[in-house]
Amino acid sequence: MDSRLASDDHTYLPEAVQVAAKILVVGHFAVGKTTFIGTLSEIPPLRTEETMTRAGAHVDDLRGVQGKTTTTVAMDFGRLTLSETLVLYLFGTPGQQRFVQVWEDMTRGALGALLLIDPQRLEESFPVMDLVESYGIPYAIGVNYFGEAPTRPDDELREALDLLPDTPIVTCDARDEKSSAGALIALVKYLQTRTS
């Protein structure tokens, strides 16, 4: 509902864009997903909500149930136009198990996921890892480096997280564009090895 949008050329995609690809940025609360997306996005990051109802989004069911509150969950996302014909969307959402509907929506057609972790709070990443794996989404680990805490060696992380031998581990600073892009590039290179 922002009338400025209509005159802002950067809001819209180039006319020739044909392919919209999607990569997920996942991780536990406050691990840096929104920062990461904001750092890379060419548009101000947007937030959308999915409305959860117990009946699986049949809005009719809400009629006559006065005062019933629906649960909403936010998805943050950003956009990168990568060529005249290709646009990449980055979607981030919290890793709560109960938001199944959001995960189904997010994972449909996704190329892969960058799973951001905080090495000091590894155990908080387990539920998110379970979700990503249950949807069969290939992923790379992005160790969001906050600067103060000492980083842990990759093999220690790999063992603690019970990763496959070929799952990439990349250290990145979600506030830094080049560093964040590097993590995304590492993920895409990994995805290539799985399709060749």
Binding site: M1, A6, Y12, V19, A20, A74, V87, L111, A181
Partner: protein, 123 residues
């Protein structure tokens, strides 16, 4: 604009099922988060529409946007936006450019294009 950061307008005062006239929310198949949408050429029926559909058409009249972006800009849940888009597509007022089918998305060509794009932009 970010939903939840203030900037509320009248739309927020109407609960989603009122806006959709109580219709079931479509599943995500037709309008995926990254399905690209724009107005159809020659669309001239905006005057009879309710404020939400009119706002949606106005937003989409500037070019292509993804379903997720439309929801973000309008400030309504994705499910509601899907209902509105479904209606407007049914009456020929919007058109979509479908995302690449999931089966092809892992295609080496798309990944290579993504990689090339990222390296060009940030390399």
């Amino acid at each position: 604009m970010r939903a939840g950061d203030g900037g509320h307008d009248s739309v927020d005062l109407v609960r989603p099922y009122v806006i959709t006239n109580g219709q079931d929310l479509p599943k995500g198949d037709e309008f995926e988060l990254v399905t690209l949408v724009t107005v159809a050429a020659g669309n001239a029926r905006q005057a009879q529409l309710d404020p939400e559909r009119r706002a949606l058409l106005e937003l989409c009249s500037g070019g292509y946007l993804s379903v997720a972006e439309i929801a973000g800009h309008i400030g309504l849940p994705i499910g509601v936006i899907r209902v509105l888009l479904s209606d407007l597509a049914g009456s020929g007022q919007i058109i979509t450019r479908n995302p690449v089918p999931a089966a092809q998305l892992t295609d080496i060509q798309v990944l290579q294009e993504v990689l090339d794009g990222l390296q060009t932009r940030f390399g």
